[in-house]
């Protein structure tokens, strides 16, 4: 198995599994070359983001060993374990622990300890043989461990300076003149002669605000007021980060140990305290057992686990809220009150097949409304306002082979066609069907003698089926 990515128009291998590596494949090979060697190669598109997420997750996990973890992308972690090893019995034991933990997840690990992050990193990546002490080990590392660019690495090696030790024993001014100050800094850092800063990962915890009470609060109304204050606090923080909350979770900790949870969601990221509170109220109202303070709450907490970027919105100059925002607020309220699946919105889809041309999604999920196509001025609409699902079969008298209907019987009522327009021929989506089977539909817009308008269609042409059926698919206004 290999991971591939398109590099300058050619699919190239980015990483390979151990089996592939054992077969002699390596990163940089084009997929075509690799296939020529191993025809049944499995190739998967490379996803750098997924790799990064995975590394982040590992870093999170390493929080158990030390609070200070830094990423060394794409596949390394640097742990500052100063003072953290005693719980494990020493560096070696800690390393073994990490190794066995990760091995259980199928992850192979190479690790090393060093006086500085750079030294540890270089040793972990490049050390090949054991050495009496750390300094000796570092001096035996190849120059590539310096992390210089390819050209400089080759140049150092061409000059006969193959190891860190070879460089370190020469005047550094010479190196600086040829490979720049960065190279010298690199050497000094790896040798521990210069401090190398470690930038630990900063994990932004989800937003949380809480209020503790000396005396338990026994009134629900007051508890909600406090929730409002907490929301206002949270909104201030959200404003600073330019975000709006999509989900708010409130927890009421009762003094007798019971915790009551309430959660609300919004369709759009929001910083509107009033709206948030309104949603909470809706939720409380719709609960079968309203919040029971019992002996009172001693802690109320508000979490905002999902926040999304939200620009400061501008109100209309003439005052009043923008219609869209009001609709969004309404959707949030209704969804909270009735349940998210109950409030739905049509989302248009790009297809010729009428019944698939729109999709009903929970309004909270549907995102921004898509403008509906405007009818052409002066032209009667092509699509009915009501669509039957499924279409209803009818009996039709029509001209053969593909003439318009003359009269039809629907729900035992005979309709005489007074006017009609069509056909609008819609062919089946051949690519969804094996061997292109499927029936073509001819749609007609019909007005009967009593002025009622129907959208009916013939299902199949005479060269597709022996006896095409007719259906009424919709009603016009």
């Amino acid at each position: 198995m290999v991971f591939v990515e398109s590099v300058k128009g050619a699919m190239r291998i980015i990483a390979c599994c151990q089996t592939a590596a054992a077969l002699g494949l390596a990163s940089g090979t084009t997929l075509a070359d690799a296939r020529a060697r191993v025809p049944d190669l499995e190739a998967i598109d490379h996803a750098p983001h997924a790799d990064h997420d995975w590394l982040e997750a590992l870093a999170d996990g390493c929080g158990r060993y030390t609070p200070s973890v830094a990423l060394d992308p794409p596949d390394g972690l640097v742990l500052d374990i100063a003072g953290c090893t005693h719980g494990f019995g020493g560096e070696r034991e800690l390393g073994a622990e990490i190794e066995s933990q990760l091995a259980r997840r199928g992850i192979a690990v190479r690790w090393a300890c060093g006086d500085t992050p750079d030294a540890a990193r270089a040793l972990a990546r490049f050390q090949t043989a054991a050495a009496p002490d750390e300094d000796a080990a570092i001096r035996r590392l190849p120059v590539i461990a310096l992390g210089l660019d390819d050209e400089d690495t080759v140049a150092l090696s061409r000059a006969g300076l193959k190891t860190i030790g070879d460089i370190a024993c020469r005047p550094l001014a010479m190196i600086a003149a040829r490979f720049g100050a960065d190279a010298v800094t690199g050497i000094r850092r790896i040798l521990g002669e210069e401090e190398s800063p470690l930038t630990p990962r900063v994990v932004t915890p989800p937003l949380r605000v809480e209020r503790r009470f000396a005396e338990p609060v026994a009134r629900t109304e007051y508890a909600l007021e406090v929730l409002g204050e907490l929301a206002a606090e949270a909104v201030v923080v959200l404003e600073e980060t330019g975000e709006g909350g999509r989900r708010f979770e409130a927890r009421f900790f009762r003094s007798d140990g019971l915790v009551q949870r309430l959660a609300v969601e919004t369709g759009q990221p929001s910083r509107d305290v009033k709206a948030i509170l309104r949603l909470f109220r809706e939720r409380i109202d719709s609960l079968s057992d309203p919040i029971d303070p019992g002996f009172g709450f001693d802690l109320i907490r508000l979490d905002v686990p999902i926040a999304e970027p939200l620009d400061a919105s501008q109100l209309k100059l003439e005052g009043g809220a923008v219609a869209e925002i009001e609709v969004a607020a309404l959707i949030d309220r209704l969804s909270t009150r009735l349940g998210r699946g109950r409030v739905r919105r049509f989302v248009p889809r790009d297809t010729h097949i009428p019944e698939q041309a729109e999709l009903l999604l929970p309004a909270v999920e549907a995102g921004k409304p898509v403008p509906w196509p405007k009818p052409e001025a002066g032209e009667p609409p092509l699509r009915p306002i009501h669509l039957f699902d499924p279409p209803q079969p009818i009996q039709v008298t029509s001209e053969v082979p593909d003439g318009p209907p003359l009269q039809f019987r629907w729900r035992r009522t005979l309709h005489e066609v007074a006017r009609m327009e069509g056909p609008e021929r819609i062919a089946p989506e051949w690519w969804r069907r094996r061997e292109g089977k499927g029936l073509t539909r001819d749609y007609y817009r019909i007005e009967d003698v009593r002025g009622r308008r129907f959208w009916i269609f013939r299902h199949g042409l005479y060269d597709e089926v022996e006896q095409p059926g007719w259906y009424v698919h919709g009603l016009f206004a």
Partner: protein
């Protein structure tokens, strides 16, 4: 009553139409239409195909029924405007009208600098004469079609960057026809269609055109079953009535039959970069845009029956057919007052008299008489003179551009005497009738090769001489091939790139034109899978569709009159080139003539050889004055010693040389022709060799009935075995009783083998014909097989003769002046079969002293210098004696054959051999060297003003030996030079680079020098990588190639650097050439073995092979590989420090392979990835 659809597109409306022109015409005929109008988007590229298809179909019906159905083909174009004007279909009514249309399209094409066609309504008004216009209701313009940034430039508004219009209409046929209201529309009347919208705009267009071209305007209406057709029809009819314009019923067809709807959806997706599932309403809602029978049309248009009838009226107005394109060659080459024929004869006789001062031989006179008669008869004098002129121009340049005719033109004595070809047809009994014959109504085809580096001069001369409105290159239609089709259709169907790549990787070569079922199985997919079945169905249909137009390699079409009044011109992607939109077949079909101005790398190389020889006093030669029939040259070739020689340097050719044993010029002709798919697939090689070696009596196959010696004329020269294309043709005529016409049909079917499948019937005719006349079936089948092989890669005798001339010349130079030959080959790279390392290695084997690149001696090009000069950089290790110079000496001495007469020159490598070094740098370095040699890196940097990258490259290439710096020392110095600063500051700073203590760098081992040499210059004079590994291999019992070469049988193990992997023909065998320090060894793997060791064979740069030794009678050694081992890893030993890196550790590493991505495996260097140049491979 009758009907014809006059708004139809073919697949030359690229990625819009979904049927071949011939299918559109065929379907219209099948439906009983009275005609069809082919109109592609802003092009007439497909109309010739339609024209030919109609002619063929009518000829067939004449043959079958004795009469042809009346059917009229209207050819024109659908104009799509950038200014929002509705599309307008244009059909010329007369030859004049055709010229106006092609000029209009040329105008649009030339405006668009990067493809596309930029037309505006005003342009149409200017050119709309003698035309029928069908205005459609909407514009289909897609802004992505043309490069908007370009056309919005102010200058594009007028014809400033367009063929000038001053050139008077000189074409005799181009007088406005009687129907034409030769309307002259003043440009002052500006057209502003953008003001109108929808119907308004259409109304304005109709009104404007009705005024400009009364009686020539129709409004095209269609009933696509879109729901409101009736309403739309009524609206358009009202508009038409108001403008007094009749309406015309059409389907606006994009394909021939309803079955092409999926294909059309797919091409739409390819065009839009979408998948079918995601394209939604970009696709048509239904499949109605195909040709429909008249009854159906009448049913659809029952409200307007007149609209259906109008098609007949339009057809009756159109008088133009493509047959009216009369064509004439330019008159320029004839001096005033001369008749072209007389002038041609005058030139030819002048040369003939010069060659034969004692009078022209009777045989020649007879041939000339014959040729002149034919030329006069068919009026080809201008053609010969035009070619003669191009050749004359090339020869008159200072220095002359080498050129030589190839192909069947070598059959002509006239061409020979004009100097166009270099083969004397008298000497080889070549017949002119094979070049041009009165029976074959086809223009002759003269192909001339020029030096590839200077061909552009000739091309630009032709443009200049005849003008861009009269000269242009023919088009090549790029077709959908198996790979591209699978890739694009797969993408449109939503398959992942991985799946399609797996499928395409089973296609050998990018030209395969079919995607057979077993390929799917080979890739591990079953056709039972609906997605695969769908893919295959559509791929089969899309294959062979035209994809886009490109320019032909060098086929020029020249006319006496404006070329742009015969066919539209396009800007080519290459600067200063224009090409027409018809390809070779179209040109042939219409009887236009073209001259092929081709490029040949070997001519450049030979010219460079001649220049070098002249410069160094080694003789002054040209192609003709090279001494002929030098036996030593043939001696060399008989040994298979032909690396670098034109045409016969491939492995297969080298193997053939000792078997064929060439002794005279004609043997070279056979050598060139015999190692080709034709004779090989026809199994003609072995019989020929046996007969030639005298092991078998040359016996002519004879029929039971008829003259037993009838094949003597045909096959006498080649021991009774057909080797050349002409012989195969002649066989069909003499032995199978084909008429010359039919033989010609066979030849054509062969030539277009990839395009058409018509050859099947001819196969039966030929084999049965021969069998019936009493030939053995086996022989007949082999002859046919060979003809089949010739289809794509056959050589006619005349062509082989022309090429054999160059084979001899290059062999002669290689033998007598190997240093010169090698230098010229290196200076002409990329060309030929071998990498510089092999060319240089070969030269050294021939005793040439090759000297390294050096800043104080080298130039950009590789040069030669007297061997007496002491090479300042000759001895490596001057500064570092510990670098074991003895090894170097040993290696070179072993291969020096000893100094021979005339070979006392050494080859000095030039800066061009350094990867990434620029010619400008080399020039500035050489210029600054004039004041004296450089004494230090610092001085060089300051005087030549080179950027630091150049200095580092020079140091990397070990080019500072003459100033006592080896690679390591030079690099250390060069690195110190300040970066790229202004010269003034550089000078100031340079002085500050004070003395520095010695860095005490360790000496660079020789093996590392070699590795670095390979990296930087792709070759090393210091040694071969294998020599450093020999000890280890020896311990393992692996033989060197020299040792293996001394064996005649047995099982051996050899190892070497992989030079080339080849999988010829049907892929039964894989050939791998390995090189070590003692030479090369050829390994053959049977496909079965290959599949087992595929990974090792495909991946290895250094390969160990175990196998059986096979030696042919001629002493050619092969190893039949039974096992292959990838030993590439060994190469890293070259540049590693052996002491600090014991092999054990390495072995340890390989137990736990590292699979991290951007870090090279522990301790090894990234450069090892590319220690050797990549071998030439198949995929």
């Amino acid at each position: 009553m009758s009907f014809a659809d006059l708004v139809t597109a073919t697949n030359y409306s690229f990625l819009r139409g979904a049927s071949h022109p011939k299918d559109m015409v065929g379907q219209a005929l099948a439906l009983g239409h009275s005609g069809i109008g082919i109109a592609d988007r802003n092009t007439v590229a497909g109309v010739v195909r339609a024209h030919v298809a109609l002619k063929e179909s009518q000829a067939k019906s004449r043959e079958e029924t004795g009469s042809e159905t009346p059917f009229k083909l209207a050819v024109g174009s659908r104009l799509v405007f950038v200014d929002g004007t509705p599309d307008i279909v244009v059909y010329p009514r007369t030859r004049y009208g055709w010229g106006r249309l092609t000029r209009l399209l040329t105008l649009g094409n030339r405006r668009a600098e990067k493809g596309g066609c930029i037309l505006r309504f005003a342009d149409l008004l200017e050119f709309a004469q003698d035309m029928v216009l069908i205005v459609l209701s909407e514009s289909s313009f897609d802004p992505h079609e043309v490069d908007e940034a370009k056309h919005s430039r102010p200058k594009s508004d007028d014809s400033s960057n367009v063929v000038t219009l001053e050139f008077s209409d000189r074409h005799p046929g181009l007088v406005p026809g009687p129907t034409g209201e030769h309307a002259t529309v003043s440009r002052l009347e500006r057209w502003a269609p953008a003001q109108g919208r929808g119907d308004d705009r259409l109304e304005r267009v109709l009104a404007r055109l009705a005024k400009a071209l009364p009686g020539g305007i129709w409004l095209g209406v269609s009933m696509p079953r879109a729901g409101r057709d009736g309403r739309k029809l009524a609206r358009l009819c009202r508009l038409a009535n108001e403008a007094h314009v009749p309406v015309l019923a059409t389907c606006d067809a994009l394909y021939a039959t309803a079955g092409q709807r999926p294909l059309h959806d797919i091409v739409t997706c390819i065009r839009k970069g979408e998948t079918v599932a995601g394209a939604g309403r970009l696709l048509e809602a239904n499949g109605e845009r195909h040709l429909k029978p008249e009854t159906e049309m009448r049913r659809l248009f029952r409200d307007r029956p007149d609209a259906v009838d109008e098609s007949e009226r339009i057809l009756s107005l159109i008088d133009f057919t493509l047959d009216q394109l009369k064509y004439e060659y330019p008159h320029e080459p004839v001096p005033p007052g001369w008749d072209p024929q007389d002038w041609l004869e005058h030139l030819v006789y002048k040369e003939a008299n010069k060659q034969h001062p004692d009078g022209i031989p009777v045989k020649l006179q007879k041939t000339l008489d014959e040729e002149f008669e034919l030329i006069r008869d068919r009026n080809y004098a201008y053609y010969f003179l035009t070619v003669y002129e191009a050749v004359k121009f090339a020869r008159e340049q200072k220095p002359p551009i080498l050129c030589q005719g190839r192909g069947s033109a070598a059959n002509s004595a006239v061409c020979y005497l004009l100097g166009v070809t270099s083969v004397d047809p008298m000497k080889y009994d070549l017949l002119f009738s094979r070049f041009v014959s009165s029976k074959r109504d086809e223009p002759p085809d003269i192909d001339v090769d020029f030096e590839h580096e200077r061909r552009e001069d000739v091309i630009q001369h032709i443009y200049e001489r005849y003008g861009r409105h009269r000269a242009a290159i023919a088009a090549t239609v790029i077709h959908y091939r198996a790979r591209s089709t699978v890739r694009e259709v797969g993408k449109a169907l939503g398959l992942s790139e991985d799946v399609t790549q797996r499928l395409t990787s089973t296609v050998w070569g990018s030209y395969a034109s079919s995607m057979e079922e077993d390929r799917f199985a080979m890739a591990g997919y079953s056709l039972d899978n609906p997605a695969m079945a769908q893919l295959k169905t559509i791929v089969d249909q899309l294959l062979e569709f035209p994809r886009h137009l490109s320019q032909h390699v060098g086929g020029f079409v020249l006319t006496q009159d404006r070329l742009d009044e015969t066919v539209p011109l396009h800007n080519a992607a290459m600067e200063d080139r224009t090409f027409i939109e018809w390809d070779k077949d179209d040109i042939d079909a219409l009887g236009l003539m073209k001259v092929d101005i081709l490029a040949l790398g070997m001519l450049t190389c030979i010219q460079k050889c001649f220049d070098l020889m002249r410069l160094h006093g080694l003789g002054d030669y040209d192609l003709k004055s090279i001494p002929q029939d030098d036996p030593e040259v043939y001696d060399m070739l008989r040994k298979g010693d032909s690396i670098g020689v034109f045409q016969i340097e491939s492995r297969a050719q080298i193997n053939m040389l000792p078997r064929l044993k060439p002794r005279k010029f004609y043997d070279l002709v056979i050598q060139v022709a015999i190692v080709r798919p034709g004779p090989i697939e026809g199994d003609m090689v072995h019989p020929y060799l046996r007969r030639r070696a005298g092991k078998e009596k040359p016996e002519l196959p004879s029929p039971k009935y008829g003259d037993p010696g009838e094949l003597k004329d045909v096959l006498g020269k080649t021991e009774g075995v057909p080797l050349f294309q002409e012989q195969a043709m002649k066989l069909a005529i003499v032995a199978a009783g084909f008429s010359p016409d039919k033989a010609n049909e066979l030849r054509k079917a062969m030539a277009t083998f990839r395009n058409a499948g018509t050859i099947g019937n001819l196969k039966a005719d030929m084999i049965e014909g021969m069998v019936k006349r009493g030939y053995e079936r086996d022989f007949a089948e082999r002859c046919y097989k060979q003809i089949e092989g010739f289809g794509s890669y056959g050589f006619p005798e005349s062509h082989a003769l022309s090429f054999a001339g160059l084979v001899y010349v290059s062999s002669w130079i290689k033998y007598h002046h190997p240093a010169v030959f090698c230098a010229a080959l290196l200076n002409s790279q990329p060309m030929g079969f071998y990498a510089p390392a092999q060319l240089v290695g070969d030269a050294r084997k021939h005793g040439v002293e090759v000297r390294e690149v050096d800043v104080n001696v080298s130039a950009w090009d590789n040069t030669i210098e007297p061997v007496l000069n002491r090479d300042p950089g000759l001895v490596p290790g001057v500064t570092h004696p510990q670098s074991t110079p003895s090894l170097v000496a040993q290696w070179t001495l072993e291969h020096v054959r000893g100094d021979e007469e005339g070979k006392g020159v050494a080859l000095r490598l030039g800066f061009r051999q350094i990867d990434g070094f620029k010619e400008d740098w080399a020039k500035s370095l050489v210029a600054s060297r004039e004041t004296g040699p450089f004494a230090s890196v610092e001085e060089l940097a300051a005087r030549a003003n080179l950027p630091s990258r150049a200095l580092r490259l020079l140091a990397d290439a070990d080019a500072f030996r003459s100033i006592d710096l080896d690679r390591r020392g030079a690099l250390w110095e060069a690195r110190r030079m300040p970066g790229d600063v202004l010269p003034l500051f550089a000078a100031a700073e340079a002085r500050q680079l004070g003395a520095e203590t010695d860095a005490q760098l360790p000496a660079m081992p020789l093996s590392e020098h070699v590795a670095a040499d390979y990296q930087v210059t792709r070759l090393s004079l210091k040694g071969h990588p294998m020599q450093f590994l020999r000890e280890g291999f020896e311990r393992e019992g692996v033989l060197s190639s020299a040792e293996a070469g001394r064996l005649s049988k047995g099982r051996v193990r050899v190892a070497g650097v992989v030079l080339v992997r080849q999988r010829p023909g049907k892929g039964n065998a894989i050939f791998v050439t390995l090189e070590d320090e003692t030479g090369i060894v050829n390994v053959l793997f049977w496909a079965r073995t290959f599949e087992v060791y595929r990974r090792q064979i495909m991946a290895a740069h250094l390969m160990e092979v175990e196998g059986e030794v096979r030696k042919s009678e001629e002493g050619v050694l092969h190893i039949i590989g039974a096992r292959a081992i990838d030993r590439t890893e060994e190469l890293s030993k070259l540049s590693e420090d052996h002491v600090t890196r014991p092999p054990m550790a390495r072995a340890d590493v390989s137990l736990a392979p590292d699979h991290r991505r951007d870090v090279a495996p522990r301790g090894s260097h990234p450069r090892n990835v590319r220690i050797l140049p990549k071998s030439r491979d198949f995929h």
